[in-house]
């Protein structure tokens, strides 16, 4: 959407976080899904996360624009913790159960 957003109220979009680490935590593992079309990055995340110990933070690299919507939505549907995103584009997720 190219319309300017003077309210700045778009909590679900990748925020303009200046930090290089969106969650403030170092990831334990990086999942490279660059070049993959949705739903492939979400499928890769769904395959890998349950193999890691509870509490693990995973960083997903995914440049498909749908990942910005679908990775947080997957975390919500699966009860996993979405820690944040960063224009990179990278997404941090913690396995919570």
């Amino acid at each position: 959407m190219s319309a300017t957003d003077a309210t700045g109220d778009t909590p679900d979009s990748p925020a303009g976080n200046a930090s290089s680490d969106p969650s403030g935590e170092l990831p334990d593992e990086v999942l490279d899904c660059l070049g993959q079309r949705c739903p492939l990055p979400v499928i890769a995340l769904a395959r890998r996360l349950p193999e890691l110990p509870v509490g693990t933070v995973i960083r997903v690299l995914a440049d498909d624009p749908a990942a910005a919507v679908d990775i947080p939505a997957w975390c919500r549907m699966r009860g996993q913790e979405f820690l944040g995103s960063h224009p990179g584009p990278t997404y941090h997720i913690r396995r919570t159960h």
């Binding site: 319309a3 778009t10 679900d12 979400v42």
Partner: protein
């Protein structure tokens, strides 16, 4: 006696057409009126001979009938070359008419792309736009809307009456009241409401599209209420009160007006019937397709439209699989769009965008159509998941 589906021509008999929110099949009344008007309404209504007078009579009658259905004055209504053209004209004309007040357009995040494209052009030309968010059900954030329309330099505001993608009905009256307090005219895109459900009051400019109610493609409606500061953004032309230039497709306008009257007469009964079928789709899809997210407001919604997303399923593959089984639906998934971006509506709501299906019913949709879809969908989704190796994830 319960309302029955209208007996349409063969369009809907074998393949099941479930994309009325894009274009409903031509209403039987539209077909009759179109054929009659092709013989009678080909002349230019602005000329001074008998054929032209006949065309003028048809145009005047179409305008009066349509205005009466909408509850507006005939001189407030202009026909346009499409719903998209009506939306562009509404947005740009509202901004032009209030350019002394400022150059800011306020709009929701879930407007139709026609409205957003007009907003983009306005911004590219030095104007500004403020986008107001929605919640996870697709409901406008009224507090953010109220503060946005009371901001400095606001020329006009645009709100879709109900989401064409997820069906969530918007708080038009409350949004209009906020606009009235701020002295900002409100444009309402009523494309999914006209001919189906009553349009809430309070707006200054309204648009609709004939193919959404079973009229022919290529006819839009633009209503500008008396006293609204609005100025056509197009080069001067005397037709349609100077609001939109070019010769109208008069036979299509006549067919649009006739079918709107027919659709409106039957609207309440059809809305009740289709709403029950949508309730059934919402419940059965959620219960019988694993890992599915049925999106949009389950109560404050359009009667005929439902959207859901299937986890791990490619939207384009799902559309093709449904098409092979004879089901016509649309999708907001990125892989089904020319831009390869997910639907801005699903994005604004923060709901799953892949594996997305929008089902929209029309007055010819039958219970049997819906049952067949509901019976086949779980197997189609399961097959796609099995082929992709994502079962049990």
């Amino acid at each position: 006696m319960p309302t029955e589906a209208i007996a349409w021509a063969d369009v809907t008999s074998s393949p099941v057409y479930l994309d009325a929110a894009t274009a409903a099949p031509l209403h039987p009344v539209a077909r009759q009126a179109l054929l009659a008007a092709l013989d009678d309404g080909w002349a230019d209504p602005d000329r001074l001979y008998s054929q032209a007078r006949r065309a003028r009579q048809l145009l005047d009658a179409a305008r009066e009938a349509t205005a009466e259905t909408l509850g507006v004055r005939p001189d407030e209504l202009s026909f346009t070359a499409s719903g998209t053209n009506a939306a562009h004209t509404a947005v740009l004309g509202g901004l032009r008419g209030r350019r002394r007040a400022g150059r800011v357009l306020v709009h929701s995040a879930i407007e139709h792309s026609a409205v957003l494209h007009a907003a983009e052009q306005h911004v590219a030309g030095g104007g500004a736009a403020v986008e107001v968010p929605v919640d996870r059900l697709g409901r406008l954030d009224l507090d953010a809307w109220s503060s946005a329309v009371t901001g400095a330099q606001v020329a006009s505001a645009a709100l879709i009456a109900a989401s064409h993608e997820v069906g969530t009905v918007q708080p038009v009256e409350a949004a209009a009241a906020a606009c009235a307090r701020a002295g900002v005219p409100l444009y309402v895109d009523a494309a999914q409401l006209v001919g189906r459900v009553p349009v809430p009051p309070g707006w200054s400019v309204l648009t609709a599209s004939a193919r959404k109610w079973g009229g022919p493609p290529g006819v839009g409606l633009l209503v500008v209420r008396k006293g609204t500061r609005w100025e056509s953004p197009w080069p001067t032309d005397e037709r349609e009160s100077g609001r939109t230039p070019g010769t109208l497709n008069l036979p299509a306008v006549v067919a649009a007006a006739a079918s709107l009257r027919a659709a409106a007469a039957d609207a309440a009964a059809q809305a009740a019937r289709l709403s029950g079928l949508v309730d059934r789709i919402r419940a059965r899809v959620a219960a019988e397709v694993p890992d599915v997210e049925v999106v949009g407001d389950p109560e404050h919604r359009l009667p005929h439209l439902v959207t859901f997303s299937c986890l791990y399923v490619d939207g384009e593959a799902l559309l093709h699989a449904l098409d092979r089984r004879g089901f016509a639906v649309s999708s907001g998934s990125s892989c089904t769009s020319s831009t390869l971006r997910p639907s801005h509506v699903l994005e604004a709501m923060g709901v799953l965008s892949h594996g997305n299906v929008r089902v929209s019913l029309h007055a010819g949709s039958t219970e049997a159509d819906v049952e067949r879809f509901l019976t086949e969908l779980p197997g189609i989704v399961a097959d796609l998941r099995r082929q992709a190796g994502v079962t049990g994830l």
